[in-house]
Symmetry: C2
Subunit: 398 residues, 2 copies
């Protein structure tokens, strides 16, 4: 296949791209395209496909009718509401999950890391339903599951054993959540999640909403344990709101500690919660990835599934105005996600997998700012059929 | 004209709407529609048209090619960059302004308050160009201009006289900007802007970025002077970032003071700057309106012109999750703007002007969250022709 004439993010001027056997075979120059399928992308911007690095597919109500938010304002309210209503609403719902994955795919997302609840109430049902939903999309979408103890581990007996069961059931990573603020025993919590990750050779992704000195101290614990266990490159902290409460010097020290340990940071720039210092983190070499967190679920009604729009939120909340700054957000939504998920981190380069998106924009910064709906998506070297996109969240052909 | 079958924001169930002579003549019930133009809006949500309450039309680069952001990170950098580059880029540019107004209109905005730079460098050129641009849209769009001293008054000799000239040239309001932090003499700054507003019978809209105790004290000065001059209902403070640095009790005291004085608050929920406490302000009866601030200009590359998307940002940054909370953001983008601009503040009610938008959404909260592009816009009782919307910012038929 030949992609004819797109501008390529990071390259000067338009160039043709030859794709062979699912790989980017040539970029620029002249090559024989006589037997090739040709896709005209002149005037379009070609970027690596989008990676959703943090979502909760198992919880989504996407594609169904509007469900007004019913939880109170505290975390305890939201947890109680989640437990009470998920059975009533039939969550996890394979059709809702498939609808969301289809939508993500139409926007150019090819890889997803999703955090699936595992607890004595729901057991491994979520893991099974998400896996079945992912299978329905075939090779259009790669879904990595994290076994996620939403309701605690130390404080929720039975969860640790279920996480171990999930580990043998094909998940890619073990999750953790607020070892101090939520689970009340940070060292024991980290003992469990690092222990499971080591024992089963899995990645680790800890959701850290704890703010201030508490959250910063937990980030230190996680960095130090990652370094001690030589697990650099396999551990991520999602959210990391505590960065917002630190001064510049404190941020710098913590960024260095994470960089040396090899801990990645995942952010969605959600609501008004603090956004980690993306520029500092990238300058220090920390992997930064981006994801929606919840999409249209009992925890909140927002989220479109479009990672280019999510990159806009990340850039906007980071007060990124210049093109190079805005491109840091796009990097998080593409290359950063590849790094987090253990994929080939190269962009549109010879030898890289041909997972690509073409967007009607002149520059990468413009693509982030305007995130136009119409896109050409190439997955594993094949152009995906273009689907009507209904922004109300209900698939036209569902 | 009959609007057939929409759900109407705030009403139960779908109802027909009869429009006669630019006014909502009947809502619900049965009426003779034999001689009427009928617009089928079944399955759509009907809301009052959108009001852009704070933008800078004169500065926009909208509809032209992408211009990478060129200013440094400080306010001084941005001011210097603005002065240096606006001539080079031909700002103000009537075609850019018309392109943006057309786009706003296609999204369902019918009324705009725009802050136009007035200073010894640009004189009244911006005022004239914006007025000429607005005329090109005829009665589809009502544009109210604020004569805005972007580069100071006390610190920028000649500006006060030009504001007075602008006052006689048809502007609707006088602007002010950071009386302390920027113009260095808060009492003298307020003397000038309140004085001009009183003398010419104009409204007043002060941009207050100053944070912390300084900004809060300026809000007190503005409230007290508004009360002393009985100018309640004619004075607004835009941005009011200082609210973000106050504790709950301090916020409550300040909200009361603004409510009693009749000072409105305008917010865009831009970047990561603090968002005023919308729920508290509305509970106290303070008018809250919403606007983009800059749209695709030398101050920043963001902004689409869509006030429904802007309401999403306001709701999202306010961490509004429930339907009634999210509707506060929509209220700011519709009814709140009407109050600010001195228009009939009624919604879809008998006797109210027939400025309406129909959106493909089931509920008002869903309309804010999803803000779908396709809309039916009714202005002064007439359905506007639907235009192709190109989200890259370049009008298809320009």
């Amino acid at each position: 296949m030949v992609l004819r004439g797109p501008h390529i993010w990071g390259h000067d001027g338009p160039a043709d791209v030859l794709i062979r056997d699912g790989i980017v075979a040539e970029v620029g120059g002249t090559f024989d395209s006589s037997d090739c399928e040709v896709v005209d992308l002149s005037g379009q911007l070609l970027i690596p496909s989008l990676v959703e690095a943090h979502c909760h597919l198992d919880k989504t109500l996407y594609g169904g009718p509007w469900v007004p938010h019913s939880a109170g304002d505290t975390l305890a309210d939201r947890i109680a509401n989640d437990r009470d209503r998920r059975r009533e609403l039939g969550i996890p719902d394979i059709d809702r999950i498939v609808a969301l994955l289809e939508r993500m795919s139409s926007f150019g997302t090819t890889h997803v890391r999703t955090h699936t609840d595992v607890d004595p109430d729901v057991g491994l049902l979520g893991i099974e339903v998400v896996e079945a939903a992912a299978e329905r999309l075939g090779d259009r979408m790669v879904v990595q599951q994290v076994a996620f103890p939403q309701h605690g581990i130390v404080t929720n007996p039975g969860t640790e054993e279920l996480l171990a069961d999930a580990a043998t059931a094909g998940v890619r990573a073990i999750g953790g959540i607020d070892p101090a603020g939520m689970d009340r025993d940070p060292v024991r919590h980290l003992d469990v999640v690092f222990g499971l990750a080591e024992r089963f050779g899995l990645d680790l992704d800890i959701h850290l909403h704890d703010g201030g000195t508490l959250g910063a101290w937990e980030l230190e614990l996680i960095a130090d344990r990652t370094a001690a266990l030589s697990m650099g490159g396999r551990v991520a902290v999602s959210h990391a709101y505590a960065f917002g409460d630190l001064n510049d010097h404190q941020q710098d020290l913590l960024v260095d500690r994470l960089a040396h340990a090899g801990v990645a940071i995942v952010t969605g720039a959600v609501y008004s919660f603090p956004v980690p210092p993306v520029k500092k983190l990238r300058a220090a070499g920390v992997t930064v990835a981006c994801g929606h967190d919840g999409i249209r679920d009992l925890w909140g009604p927002y989220g479109s599934g479009d990672m280019l729009e999510r990159a806009m939120h990340l850039a906007y909340r980071s007060t990124f105005r210049s093109d190079p700054d805005i491109e840091l957000a796009l990097e998080a939504a593409t290359i950063g996600g590849r790094r987090l998920l253990g994929l080939d981190p190269r962009g549109v380069e010879v030898g890289a997998p041909a997972d690509l998106v073409a967007i009607d924009a002149g520059t990468a910064a413009e693509a982030v700012v305007t995130h136009p709906d119409h896109r050409t998506v190439i997955r594993a070297g094949r152009a995906l059929p273009q689907r009507p996109i209904d922004v109300t969240g209900v698939e036209d052909d569902a």
